[in-house]
């Protein structure tokens, strides 16, 4: 470990590893600090991702792909199940291997990585972030950096220490719980989504197959719901009703910040990426690929800022992210706010319209159109998605 690095990344999830890799690839010195003992574990994720969106960053490899997805099955409150083929295929990942591979790619570019390194404060130099304080092997350390990239996940404390308002309104947090269970007889190429107040009000319930009759089964509910009934209670109800004898291999909890990205994800000497910046797609709750995009953009800008000796360059990341992805998330968030408030009756109406589509017309787009018929006010927001695409 050096006394000073060009770039320090806090957190070794997908966003952090991408930031470290893209910075290191430009020839600057990089240190990435992970608080847990293993990169990639514990997993806090449904593990579904679009194949095309991660393709620019990592070659497909069966060792981190648990299953290949080409269908979505949507289950509505009255029990109607509508299955639609996907235009773009997806994967259910093995995140514990996937994250490890991403960190290895960062290391291959020259980034140094430490695990069990718990960052607990920032260093400042005249109002600019100039490094981090952390505990490692029971000892306190202080290491300087020209740029700090905070990839510390949903907690997002590092940004707060730099004066950014990162805490999230509890109503915008999807409070999630998930088990990986065996004895779940579902198609290994299909992601199942359940809607309605019995499954996951203000959110959705999912079954994502991982092959060999195992699956991730979980849900997220908005904080307003959690106030009355926890995510865990919904999961227990579902399992007792549907899979009372399933073997449970893991159980995890987690919060997914489902909002547009924070207005400011930079301050002098610091950039935020991934969940820490609230870069999750607020409609789907998916954060892997958007975090990877955020990390790659931030890493490159950080390296350029160091190489050009231009600290202000860091501040251009706000706009770069907004143009690349952030503006879409603003629209997705509006659609989310409309859909998450649908009543069971409205979902059932959509189910009826969608179920009546001829099989060769069943696509996510057409199901979405059916949803629009029942809530035309979303149309304006949807139009925006296509306009700004």
């Amino acid at each position: 470990m050096l006394k000073e690095y060009d770039v320090i990344v806090v957190g070794a999830g997908p966003a952090g590893s991408m930031a470290a890799r893209y910075a290191a690839a430009k020839g600057v010195s990089v240190l990435m600090l992970e608080k847990d003992r293993d990169v990639g574990y514990p997993v806090r994720c449904g593990e579904a991702v679009s194949a095309t969106r991660i393709a620019p960053f990592i070659d497909p490899d069966e060792k981190y792909i648990a299953s290949h997805i080409n269908k979505f099955s949507l289950i509505f409150p009255n029990g109607t199940e509508v299955t639609v083929p996907l235009e773009e295929n997806g994967y259910i990942l093995e995140r514990r291997i996937f994250d490890y591979e991403l960190a290895k790619l960062a290391a291959n570019e020259g980034a140094e990585i430490l695990t069990r390194a718990y960052v607990n404060g920032l260093l400042f130099d005249g109002g600019k972030v100039s490094g981090v304080k952390f505990e490692y092997r029971g000892e306190p350390h202080e290491v300087k950096a020209k740029v700090v990239i905070a990839a510390d996940g949903v907690e997002s404390r590092v940004g707060r220490w730099a004066g950014l308002k990162t805490h999230i309104d509890f109503r915008d947090m999807e409070c999630c719980v998930q088990i990986t269970a065996s004895g779940i007889n579902v198609n290994s190429n299909t992601c199942y989504f359940y809607f309605g107040k019995d499954y996951a009000p203000n959110g959705y319930f999912w079954i994502f197959p991982k092959g060999n009759n195992t699956a991730n089964i979980g849900l997220g509910v908005g904080g307003m719901i959690g106030k009355k009934k926890s995510a865990l209670s919904f999961l227990i109800d579902f399992m007792e009703k549907n899979y009372p004898n399933a073997s449970i291999l893991t159980q995890i909890a987690g919060g997914v910040p489902c909002t547009p990205t924070l207005k400011k994800i930079t301050a002098p000497g610091i950039m935020l990426v991934g969940d820490a910046a609230r870069q999750v797609n607020p409609l789907s709750g998916g954060g892997i690929s958007s975090g990877m995009i955020g990390g790659s953009v931030a890493g490159e800008i950080a390296a350029e800022s160091v190489k050009q000796k231009s600290p202000d360059l860091v501040l251009t990341y706000d706009k770069a992210w907004h143009e690349r992805q952030g503006k879409k998330h603003i629209v997705y968030n509006k659609i989310k706010n409309a859909i998450y408030n649908f009543s069971d009756d409205k979902f059932n109406n959509i189910a009826e319209s969608a179920d009546n589509l001829p099989d060769n017309k069943k696509s996510l787009g057409n199901v979405f159109k059916a949803a629009l018929i029942h809530n035309p006010s979303i149309l304006i927001d949807v139009a925006k998605v296509f306009v700004i695409k």
């Binding site: 847990d36 949903v154 509890f170 947090m173 904080g223």
Partner: protein
Amino acid sequence: MLMIEILPDKCDFCGCCVGICPEDAIELKEAEIRIIEELCTNCVKCVWSCPIEVLKFNRNGVKVNLDA
């Protein structure tokens, strides 16, 4: 007086409450979590948001174990 209690045996250390806390009053290491009494305002948003019912509100106050 601190009125929020974390049941450590039930906690999954997921960080959901940390992200929500408006006061930055929750500290989470790998498998250690604590509420910083001086910062906590007992707003209970963390209690509402915990996915697995680990945080509890106790009107009579919570003893802070200084040995921990």
